[in-house]
Symmetry: C2
């Protein structure tokens, strides 16, 4: 079994994530749910993101509606541009996403969302037919990936947002005003986005309903090389990929014109420093500059932050310089002036974004933390950072006798509101340790015979498997200090 | 201006919440967004809910898809039952929610979602006509309040969930198994739900897209009076309403048959103890037992937890004994046995739910915390609990000189990742205090002349307006201790 399958199996068996509406056979692909362990790692990951990006840089976070009016997507370009090419089999009437079909059937690299003409040409050139029934295809059509909804008794047309950032663009003007903003200003948002994929697959990696954590930095295009706090990160190392990996400091990358300005360098550095704290192996990450063909329609400069996994390189964050594309479009469509004052002159801000796919990050963190300990009975361990572990600690009465359970309950009651604790009294102590390790629990406290005498408990460390004794009354501060240690 | 309008104004001006897609004139009513201060109070409120309910009772939290397959809502009853009566004007074609129309035009109390026959009868009896053009109405029709979406190229029918709990019911079987569950077991979820209201109104109070924090407690119906940890809450006081307020302990309410069993008493007590920590005035809350006519179609016993506000009593939490309605329906529709083992016998669990409307809670907390200080220039203060305040502390350099700003930056950098800090250097110190108080910030640290000499800062308390001096190096532990104090 490869690592990808191992992680999926662990996720299903230990309640990290699993397919939605499993009870029903007609349940659609591309919808997954987070189970109890998944919710906790996701929430902690988002707290780390807030800590290392939003709070560190004094960004503002908003939380907007997922259903948005049609005009928003007229302006954003999604109504006309956010489409995939589809071909339909004339015989069995099955539909296929044409670019993926060509890629798989003709073994060709084709650009995502290629135009209908290109699709038709290649299908004819390679004589492609329906993989299910060998029927012929009708000419390619466009399939808009937004989900449409109708509001109220008059059936007003609206859409589920395909990216969270549109809320940020339409709210920019109010946010800037009420927060007495100053450029550059990062506005962040965590939330669901929706894309009606034609053929979703692979668990958390391509979903129809997914979490994004997006940051849109509004900036003055004439001040991109006058970035506040640039000195903090100018020596931070970034790993660029262009045929091979080149490791450069931000300043070196600017000098070599790989990065076009300080602002982009600053935010890429913050992003990379954030990922350093997630437990993803830095040496298996890269920043890849996208070619003009690969870039989204609103982007002028684009880097993908990618991570190496058992199923190939995975895009975790799209970093796009969107220029004034969005504010200009919304300004025109809504007939509203969205310029702001900066340094005594009016400016329509440009935008640099860090658009992060939360679900893929969770998967990648799990994969990079997964460890099979060959020297110890092949025990499976998720070596998660303590601050990302779904369960901070186990509380285990050694025996199922009242005197052990009473002490364990007392300990539990003292810490359970402040930390995520799993109380477990069933099975051998070894098996209980294994169950905790498998979901990444860094510490386990065992109530044993000595506890009854002196109110100390055994603390066992997940990674070293070492044991110490500490006072029950010190457990709370032990956890506080160890869980909040972001230094390593 | 009444308190409701004051809170709305504060929300708009200080970025708590505001209407969605304001730029566009066609933007629909019933969609609002949280701004930077709103996101922070909402997240902190949810953390308190996790602390005092989910973690306290060892519940499991999941996070499910919002788009769910049609079968889910066939089983749940929402496809046939979750409808409002609508009447349409034959002349101007405007649609109205009939029960509300009758209530307003005929000044009658009618049950929510009344049947078409009743609507037609009353419209005819009172001779009601279109309030816009005086036209006649067509007979009442049913309007389903779920938003429909179509998935994939085959347009599979699905719906945005109208309540988060359906994810919990369809996932119950897997969750119970992988968590090696034991009854009673609470499964919790925070997330968006969607209701296509015919005429939404009043800001956060009736939204088409809204946040729920739901808890479904799965229990063995033969063990409802054998509730674990019942002793912890049996003397907790609950305020019941039936014509007048009666304050009783849980045990007294059971003895007087106001509560039918320990399990319901236990969870109502947990809920009330949680609300005690939100800053909502306990003396302006009540538990109201619903009549058969008021109850939802799946409910056998129902209490609403209500709070008194400037616009009347508001339902914050619906507490429903749903019996085995949901598991039985899903079991039948999906042809799956959903019984579990409990105490060596098979049982189809019953469900008691605490369904909390997050947005209304945020509004109510703000209203109950809002205070105009007549003795001090009518300063407006949100007396929020420190752990719920959007901003934990301000950092204010007294003067805009480099030596003051340097010290303030140093302090900021030391605490900004761990706490929500607002740095402010503009305007008089008095005005800066006012701006902080208005959004509920409990502490402000001022860098003044003495700071330059001895690295101490002034700490000012929001409520007492008292000032102390503390060392800059002690600010972090000061905040940690004061923000995490849940005792008062």
């Amino acid at each position: 079994m490869n690592t990808y399958d191992q992680i999926i199996q662990l996720s299903l068996e230990r309640g990290f994530y699993f397919p939605s509406s499993e009870l029903y056979s007609d349940a659609s692909a591309g919808f997954w749910e987070y189970g109890p362990n998944g919710v906790k790692i996701k929430n902690k990951f988002l707290e780390l993101w807030r800590r290392e990006l939003v709070r560190r840089d004094n960004m503002l976070e908003i939380d907007g509606s997922q259903i948005m009016s049609k005009n928003v997507f007229m302006a954003s370009g999604h109504l006309s541009n956010f489409t995939d090419p589809v071909v339909k089999c004339k015989k069995c009437l099955s539909s296929f996403r044409a670019d993926k079909l060509i890629q798989e059937e003709a073994n060709l690299e084709v650009p995502e969302r290629m135009a209908n003409e290109g699709v038709n040409e290649l299908i004819s050139k390679y004589g492609l037919r329906c993989p299910l029934c060998k029927g012929e295809f009708s000419p390619a059509e466009r399939f808009n990936m937004m989900f449409k909804v109708e509001i109220g008794p008059n059936h007003d047309e609206a859409y589920l947002r395909p990216e969270t950032c549109q809320s940020i663009f339409v709210d920019f003007s109010r946010i800037y005003k009420v927060s007495r903003g100053k450029l550059p200003l990062g506005i962040a948002q965590v939330g669901k986005s929706f894309r009606n994929e034609i053929s979703p697959r692979q668990g958390l990696l391509r979903l129809r309903e997914f979490y994004q954590a997006e940051i849109e930095v509004f900036c003055n295009p004439s001040q991109l090389d006058n970035q506040p706090r640039y000195d903090e990160i100018k020596n931070t190392k970034l790993r660029f990929y262009d045929q091979k990996i080149i490791e450069l400091t931000v300043q070196e990358a600017i000098d070599q014109k790989i990065l076009s300005n300080q602002l982009i360098g600053y935010y890429l550095a913050l992003l990379v420093e954030f990922f350093d704290k997630t437990g993803i192996d830095k040496n298996r990450t890269r920043l890849r500059k996208l070619s003009d063909e690969e870039k989204a329609f609103y982007s002028t400069i684009a880097f993908d932050f990618e991570v190496d996994t058992s199923i190939g390189w995975l895009e975790l964050v799209a970093c796009n310089y969107r220029s004034d594309y969005d504010l200009k479009s919304h300004s025109t469509t809504s007939k509203t002036n969205l310029e702001v004052m900066d340094d005594n002159s009016k400016v329509l801000p440009h935008v640099f974004e860090l658009s992060l796919g939360v679900d893929r990050c969770i998967y990648s963190i799990m994969e990079h933390s997964y460890f099979v300990d060959r020297e110890n009975d092949d025990r499976a361990v998720l070596k998660l950072k303590p601050y990302l572990s779904p369960v901070h600690a186990g509380v285990l009465p050694l025996l199922r006798k009242p005197e052990f359970k009473d002490k364990a309950s007392k300990l539990l009651k003292n810490i359970q509101r402040d930390f995520d604790i799993f109380y477990d009294e069933s099975g051998s102590i070894g098996r209980r340790y294994r169950r905790l390790e498998e979901i990444g629990t860094p510490f386990a406290f065992t109530v044993d015979h000595q506890t009854l005498e002196d109110e100390t408990v055994t603390v066992r460390y997940r990674d070293s498997m070492q044991q110490d004794r500490i006072k029950m009354s010190d457990v709370k501060s032990f956890l506080y200090n160890n869980i909040n240690d972001y230094s390593s």
